[in-house]
Subunit: 393 residues, 2 copies
């Protein structure tokens, strides 16, 4: 929060307190009346019409249900004050909102709470979700951290769920490679669940970003983990199941990725290991691509521009062109002003140090460093011996 | 050998002594002049015309090359005498000749030397080649023997190459399940290579069959192993790579299976194991089907009649109808006389013991038992509590 909060943003923030995600009547009310009117109706207990096919009794019941949480609703000042803890809210249409979430249709989050330094939209433009079992084996944990470190070093963000096992190994691998990692939580971004991951989450916030559909302070529930999985699948360019049992949460995430036509991959393992059975299921039954190295993961992720710009991945599960040559994910003229200034400041040929880029762009060096990192995640620039340089399309 | 040997059979047997398999000029001479005339030409050093495009000089050079081994050539009486060691020769068109070898085109063997009790053609009608590394891990050996035992218990023959490691585990698994196994060797069927497998080969001969393109007494060579692999792939309905390194002999066999449009499968393993890299290559690059159980192997093998009757597997790598319901692989009226008599003797409904079937068929019980086993392999009959019964189409 930069000291301002639009009515729309406040209303959507408020709605994350009052309703669970993908609430059928709330989605309909948002479509018909918008967030501000919907929040007003709840606060004043004056149900709005639900639009075609929505009987007034249903919306009345819905409003009554949402009103049960009114005591938890913070004032706009308190929402703004979360900014002091590094927590911000982003709404559909905001510069940091990941456009690919629109692929979720009516199940798109009302808003997302974020904590961390990385720009969520930039981070997810070239990203891979790595998911798997909490009770991972040494093999699975090793593969998750190695793959995460390798793909993160190549500029891809590693998206996962912050849990024990594969999730933690993936986050830690990306962090170890000084990469960006995105933890999509089933609780508030200031709630350390599991508690043993409090330090991990702080590290993710320092180098990546924590994401939640639930407001600060909200706790996990079994259902919330499942609901959360669709966001992991939707945010990332592709989903990799590293090690998972059949009918596990990771397989649930993989199913979302398939339904969303994201790239789906799995790491094979011994057929004698129950924790590889979910991976083999993904390969056998859902045409997930078997991957044996981080290079294959990167190769399999198509230029993500196609997902961002029209919501469709490149044709089928075939081999994508090498991601190394991926064009920037969306046109330069869609960049926000400061990012565009940094990009304009880059030399046509060769590399340039961050301070010099900052001088040419007329921005502070620290802010420029952050923007360069985001532009790298977006595929516009890359590190080189001299600092940063433009990437060839 | 049943005490007789046609001129054609003797000529082809002789040619396996004189030429290596898939000899370009010999193939052409066989097509144009037949085996008997070709052998006469070699023995008398009077080169025949090679047909269109074959200059006389080339056939002359070829005949001279083949003549170098004339001293090794046995007389017909000696070829017949191999029968005393249980060794027989089968030629294209013989009742025991596997028709699917025609898929090899010009690379079809001139003849095959066999040692063992099983009928080669019947055995291979429902069969799976299991191939893999000589230096198999405990994991690979375990999977090979378990899968082989399971598929053999379901009436499929297990085809492999008689080598250490995966091959041996596959043969032994099939033998342990009282199943049929086929060892395709790169040396004579009376040559124990590796020597440590002398007992294994005797056991295969007692319960299955040893196969070779090379005559008795001939030794292995590096090239012969590679040449042999095409026969393994061609004989079996499908090929399963259990555990193999990249660029290994097993991957070479898999390549033949793919080129021959046989079903291709591989067992996944840890990506950290070099000996699973070939399996993952087969899945990733050649669209081999990942299999995690013997049931999946059986499921993936389509009714083999399609391969036997027109040389084509069922459409693509999709899931085949359950092999349990597979129709017999070829029409009853193509059966040899004794098999047809056994089949005619079977009751329309319910089961019948071997001795009663033998009585009705007018055959010796031992011979009837062998024929019933072959008919089972061919999908015509199956075991039941009362002995044997007809299989439903």
């Amino acid at each position: 929060m930069n000291g301002t909060l639009t009515d729309e943003a406040y209303a959507r923030a408020a709605l994350t307190y009052l309703a669970e995600p993908a609430d059928r009547w709330l989605v309909q009310s948002l479509k018909v009346h918008g967030a501000v009117a919907t929040l007003d109706a709840i606060k004043s207990n004056r149900p709005l019409g639900g639009g075609r096919g929505a009987p007034r009794e249903a919306t009345k019941a819905a409003v009554e249900r949402w009103r049960t949480r009114l005591p938890e609703l913070p004032e706009p000042e308190r929402v703004l004050a979360f900014g002091e803890s590094g927590i911000r809210i982003v709404c559909p249409g905001d510069p940091e909102w990941p456009g690919q979430l629109a692929d979720l249709g009516d199940d798109q989050p009302y808003a997302l709470w974020l904590r961390g330094t990385a720009d969520l939209r930039f981070s997810c433009l070239r990203s891979v979700a790595m998911v798997g079992s909490r009770a991972a084996t040494a093999y699975g944990s090793y593969v998750a951290s190695e793959f995460a470190a390798s793909v993160a070093a190549r500029g891809l963000a590693v998206v996962s769920g912050g849990a024990f096992g594969i999730d933690a190994a993936a986050h830690r691998g990306a962090l170890a490679a000084d990469g960006v990692t995105v933890a999509v939580l089933a609780c508030g971004v200031n709630v350390p669940y599991p508690t043993a991951h409090a330090e991990l989450f702080d590290a993710v916030a320092a180098q990546g970003v924590l994401v939640s559909e639930w407001p600060p302070g909200r706790h996990v529930s079994r259902l919330r983990f499942l609901v959360r999985n669709r966001v992991i699948a939707a945010l990332a360019t592709g989903t990799l199941v590293v090690e998972a049992g059949q009918r596990s949460g990771a397989v649930n995430t993989a199913r979302h990725a398939r339904d969303l036509r994201r790239r789906l991959m799995a790491v094979p393992g011994p057929i004698t290991s129950d924790l590889s059975a979910g991976c083999h299921q993904v390969i056998r039954e859902w045409q997930g691509t078997l991957v044996t190295s981080a290079a294959e993961v990167i190769e399999h992720l198509s230029p993500v521009g196609e997902i961002v710009t029209d919501g469709q991945p490149a044709a089928g599960p075939g081999r994508a062109a090498s991601a190394r040559q991926a064009a920037p994910a969306f046109p330069r003229d869609l960049l926000d002003l400061e990012s565009a200034r940094v990009l304009d400041a880059m030399p046509r040929r060769g590399g340039m140090g961050t301070v010099r880029v900052a001088q040419r762009a007329g921005l502070a060096p620290a802010a420029t460093a952050t923007l360069l990192g985001q532009l790298a995640t977006g595929g516009f620039v890359e590190r080189c011996d001299d600092g940063w340089r433009l990437r060839r399309a």
